[in-house]
Symmetry: C2
Subunit: 355 residues, 2 copies
């Protein structure tokens, strides 16, 4: 297994081939698991954490050898510097909690960066499977197979009454968090998003903005996920989430249609200006870039562009994040020119786009 060879330049495959006519950007399955013979990480000492790391390393190394294609990369979190850890957060591969408490923890990612494993974060093992678009079943299938493999080798902390035991009771039972990242510009522009955010709670789900607090998420990007992990089968959680997703999709499509019919000129203008600003700015801050990129995605949906490359735009939305800009700028120590570099990178990336 390759260890600490540096973060790969390429980005996750889930950024590619996203459907331009759907609201779902990506799907994610996360499982929380613990080893029965060890304390939870927050109650562990250094040597105990080390032991957990070693056990998991050996099992994962074994898993990888069964399939040479996996190419797991292994990062000792303490050996990465702050900027590198931030880059992994920006790629959705690790949590901020892990980055801020790297002691005794490690991370594994596969070549496609669609699988990531955090060791000794809140739980001994957090596994995450990301897929492009509405790919929850596929992600669940892989997660389930992988979990079955591990369960044969490891002694999971499990109770016949409570299911899988986790450090935080909100993860008890299945240990499953299923989520989809959604692009909802229609509901945002028609101010219907607030009602949606309030409404899904009673079904045991939550919708939250990715960029910014409350309803007004920059770029209209939201995450829908299950709140309840206990008392349901995994498949039911996923089915229920799809049920909610189906209703959100209908509402979003309706909102986009309404915007097209009733505010066509204004929307077109917003989109074309967003393109003009991204193509010409001297400086762009990150939240602005998300805001304008979101309008470009909507422009693609409305087929306003004669040349458009969604994969490139989705990658750009990661590459223009602050830590990425800094790590790949060739001058890691300078943060002050970030907005200027972002503008340059955007301009270059969008040079093939045509409206």
């Amino acid at each position: 297994m390759k260890s600490d060879t540096g973060i790969p330049d390429s980005l996750g495959e889930w950024l590619k081939d996203q459907p331009s006519d759907d609201i779902v950007i990506s799907s994610r399955i996360r499982l929380a698991r613990n080893l029965s013979e060890f304390n939870f990480p927050n109650r562990s000492s250094g040597p105990e954490l080390e032991e957990v790391k070693n056990i998991l390393f050996s099992v994962l190394d074994n898993w990888q050898k069964q399939d040479g294609e996996k190419n797991l990369l292994h990062f000792d979190m303490e050996k990465l510097d702050e900027l590198e850890r931030e880059v992994l957060i920006e790629r959705h591969l690790i949590s901020r909690a892990l980055a801020e408490n790297p002691a005794g923890s490690s991370t594994y990612i596969d070549k496609a960066q669609s699988l990531s494993l955090m060791v000794n974060e809140e739980d001994h093992l957090r596994m995450q499977f990301i897929k492009t678009g509405a790919g929850l079943e596929k992600a669940w299938e892989e997660a389930d197979d992988f979990d079955d493999f591990l369960e044969e080798k490891l002694d999971y902390a499990f109770s016949s009454r409570l299911g899988y035991l986790t450090a935080c009771p909100t993860n008890l039972g299945t240990g499953l968090r299923a989520s989809v990242m959604l692009h909802l510009p229609g509901l945002n522009m028609t101010d219907e998003i607030g009602r949606l955010l309030g409404g899904v709670g009673k079904f045991g789900f939550t919708v939250r903005g990715i960029f910014g607090e409350g309803t007004d998420s920059e770029g209209s990007i939201y995450q829908l996920s299950n709140q309840v992990t206990l008392g349901y089968r995994e498949e039911d959680i996923i089915d229920n989430l799809y049920g909610i997703l189906h209703r959100i999709r209908e509402k979003e499509v309706k909102a986009r249609k309404m915007l097209e019919e009733e505010r066509s000129g204004d929307i077109k203008n917003k989109i074309m200006r967003a393109f003009g600003i991204l193509r010409h700015s001297y400086k762009v801050n990150y939240l602005e870039s998300i805001h304008f990129a979101s309008l470009l995605l909507l422009g693609d949906y409305y087929q306003l562009f004669s040349e458009f490359d969604r994969d490139k735009l989705m990658e750009l939305m990661i590459l223009t994040r602050p830590a990425h800009l800094q790590l790949y700028s060739g001058d890691r120590n300078r943060t002050d020119r970030g907005d200027i570099r972002r503008a340059e990178l955007i301009k270059e990336s969008l040079s093939s786009f045509k409206i």
Copy 2:
């Protein structure tokens, strides 16, 4: 003399060859004169107004014959429709008061549209001479010569104590209004414009925003003119105005330098975005177009453009005015698509500009 042949497509020559490194867009001399044997227009009956018109027509026809190059065009204001009158306002050739009360009045303009004569506006005759840049002396010279010619043929209402008599006492004496149109983005962006507007009053001058009320004129375009017409020689009024202008110019240059030194990135960003928006918008309203065009002028001053055509931009600022857009759209009756047509015209006109 050509009468009612339609408004020429070409715009005034004062729009051309404006200095890009100065704050003065144009200079204007206006003289108010009345004929002694007739009531002021607001106290005249129809036949009396007609008589004044005829007298002036014959004198102006005579003047024109002395110099075939003048090519005076004559418009009976009642024969122009509302849109055509609005177009003359947008070109700064007639006043709104004249356009709104066209009965018994007429207008003469020369080929270059640097001379315009309003008959039976507030006074029997209002003469206006516009020159590009800081050309007040040249405008005054032409105005004075022209006025001398007319004075030989006409019996002006004149009092040895009060000077030229006018319908409104604010024009008594010289009947002279000297004004310069200024572009003051530096003073506007550094919020120093308010002090300037308040300060010139005590010298008998006034500065007012052209677009919008108060200090915050869209596009940072202001007019400096004399308030006092009585008790000074014409040359002194002009000299004093130049004195004020000189101080404003120094302040503006200082403000632009300060912006360049202390807020360079932000200013550059504003200018580049303005260009991006103008190059890509689907709709642009008139005040926005002035706002962004002003930023482009500032960009030219800072030499940010590799390709720039100031004459074209200045013409565009007239051609994109609402009545111009409507008259030249080929569909005079539609006003609703003005913002879209404006965006198209701007896009086309700026296609040769490069940043």
